[in-house]
């Protein structure tokens, strides 16, 4: 087994684990016995207690057998409300057998309405997907799901993305109209190859292009912030909630590993149809 574990300077976790060449189990292993999780947990959370009590704080929703290992929809849902007193500050989504296991770190506020995120992941091998919720007081809660999907990090999309489309974004709302004072579900689509270093003829000095950060604000106030990685599928995709109190500008700012910045915004107000269908 060849293992490389590093913590890149600068705060974001850039963990890299090369899985053993042949992980042959077809049945679900015991999540507590995973040889992959130990080192990742150590680097990310050191000796902090995970699941200090039996509360049901966070859940991961995924199909056991993924349909397409390069595009696996995952939903991480908080089971508790976001309140000023107690809220989920961050959700870590970890695909423990991916070459870079931390797929994303998503940050929320009491104003997020609900700490929930959906995205699409690549799987290099059959793996546990773990979601760790970090509370505002620092407590950690985790749940996980086993997924049978392999080859997704190495399987690039067949289509090549035209340069002119790079960074183009689209917002799709779940509802036709906005409702103030309640969580509205919105989907963000970003045109980006989100290159996996495994999915290219890797030449020395070549930096794979993938989306590094996504920041969503409404009239300047944070809605959702995420640091992400090439474990996300190409054309990264997110669904999340936001709770507007009045009309304003929903703005998306995206940065990639080539230091390119992309942005997109729409004005939202009651009675104006939302993009979506």
């Amino acid at each position: 087994m060849k293992t490389c574990l590093r913590l890149a300077a600068g705060g974001i976790l850039a963990l890299l684990v090369i899985a053993p060449a042949y992980a042959n189990e077809k049945a679900e292993p015991d999540p507590a016995q995973s040889q992959y999780w130990g080192p990742i947990r150590q680097i990310m959370f050191a000796d902090r207690v995970i699941n200090p009590d039996t509360r049901d704080v966070i859940r991961v929703y995924l199909n056991l057998r993924a349909d397409d290992a390069s595009t696996v929809p995952v939903v991480v849902k908080a089971q508790i409300d976001q309140t000023e007193k107690e809220y989920i500050k961050s959700i870590y989504v970890i695909v423990e057998r991916n070459p870079s296991p931390v797929a994303g770190v998503f940050h929320f506020t009491p104003g997020s309405g609900r700490a929930q995120v959906e995205t699409r992941l690549r799987f290099e091998d059959f793996s546990f997907v773990r979601a760790v919720a970090e509370m505002n007081d620092g407590r950690l809660y985790m749940s996980q799901r086993w997924v049978k999907a392999a080859g997704g990090c190495s399987a690039p999309n067949g289509k090549k993305l035209a340069e002119s489309l790079l960074g183009k974004m689209k917002l799709r709302f779940d509802d036709d109209m906005i409702t103030y004072h309640k969580p509205n579900l919105v989907q963000l689509l970003i045109r980006h190859p989100n290159e996996s270093p495994l999915a290219a003829n890797f030449v020395e000095g070549q930096v794979p292009q993938f989306v590094r950060s996504v920041k969503v604000t409404f009239d300047g106030k944070p809605v959702m912030k995420a640091e992400v990685d090439f474990s996300l599928s190409d054309n990264p995709n997110f669904r999340f909630f936001f709770t507007p109190e009045e009309k304003g500008e929903l703005k998306i700012e995206v940065e990639d590993t080539h230091d390119r910045k992309f942005s997109h915004s729409i004005n939202i107000s009651e009675g104006v149809p939302l993009p979506g269908g």
Binding site: G10, G11, A14, N24, D68, P99, P197, F202
Partner: protein
């Protein structure tokens, strides 16, 4: 907020370089029993692969492969899903002719078609592939070798990655001696590196996975591209044809109809799902259920096709 790219990528490259060294297997001794070929047109020999999931029992003999025999040369269309299958194909060629194998056409980057190619290395043929093939092969080879090992175990031994030696983007005419064969590269459809082979004297069209008969068609490229390419395929005047999977007695181009119906159902229903604001999960649960029962391995591939179609069509 912004990660230190240079450090990240340096770590990534160091680790990945270590990981990309391909495993080396000792060539195994397993052989494919009762490997049959059928001469569907003079000089055109087809071996029909099994619909069963790849296993140590069938040794990855899952795709339709074959060869065309000229007066001077043999051209192989794909090599099957493992070294034993490639060897069986080579032996089948030797039962027919002692002529050299001058060309092996790698019709696209899927392992059920290419893993037998190592059986032809000693013949030193030209290995012909689409210009997009090498990038896809580089990207996928590690995981393909992994999953071959997972499915075949010891029988995966010797099934190496063989690099193409000649890349094409335009139709290529090859003279096998007394017969001209045209190898054609297509825009993205089933994959982004699909080739067809057309044997001019018998008007036999080898479609590989641009045509599935009976087996669930697979989209690993683009659904709209696949439909567009099928329109062009229809216009080819062929007397015989070889699908990538399955077989049929219908006259050309009728065998394209079922596949076209299937893709059209997915296309229409996925577009409708997107318009009515359904998620990708809802779409995969609901789209194309009317096609259940018409296709083998529907459970394995259909939802994946819808996933791929959704991710493509949500940008329209």
């Amino acid at each position: 907020m912004h990660a230190p790219i240079t450090i990240f990528s340096a770590v990534a490259m160091a680790c990945l370089a270590a990981a990309t060294a391909a495993p080396v297997f000792a060539a195994g001794t397993q052989s494919v029993e009762n490997f049959e070929v059928t001469e569907i047109a003079p000089g055109n020999f087809v071996h029909y692969g099994s619909f069963d999931e790849r296993s140590a029992d069938n040794l990855g003999d899952n795709a339709n492969i074959g060869f065309i025999v000229g007066d001077h040369c043999v051209l192989a269309v794909d090599a099957g899903g493992s070294l034993p299958v490639g060897r069986a194909l080579r032996q089948a060629i030797r039962r027919v002719t002692p002529l050299p194998v001058c060309y092996v056409v790698l019709t696209h980057v899927h392992p059920d078609h290419f893993f037998g190619a190592a059986a032809f290395l000693d013949d030193q043929p030209q290995f012909i592939a689409h210009e997009n093939y090498p990038a896809q092969l580089a990207a996928r080879s590690r995981s393909y070798l992994n999953s071959l090992q997972r499915d075949l175990g010891a029988a995966a031994a010797g099934s190496e990655i063989v690099q193409p030696t000649r890349l094409i983007k335009k139709p290529l005419e090859l003279d096998l001696g007394g017969r001209t064969v045209i190898v054609q590269a297509w825009p993205p459809a089933h994959t982004d590196d699909d080739l067809t082979v057309f044997d001019a004297p018998t008007r036999t069209l080898w479609l590989s996975d641009l045509l599935f008969v009976g087996h669930t068609p697979v989209i690993d490229g683009t659904i709209t591209g696949f439909l567009a390419v099928m329109k062009d395929l229809r216009a080819i005047a062929a007397d015989q044809y070889v699908p990538g999977h399955g077989r049929s007695n219908l006259p050309w181009p009728q065998p394209l109809d079922a596949q076209q119906r299937y893709f059209t159902v997915i296309l229409d229903e996925t577009r409708a799902a997107i318009r009515s604001r359904k998620t990708i999960q809802q779409a995969t649960d609901e789209v194309g259920l009317s096609e259940t029962g018409y296709w083998v391995s529907f459970d394995l591939f259909h939802r994946r096709n819808v996933t791929s179609a959704y991710a493509e069509l949500e940008w329209e």
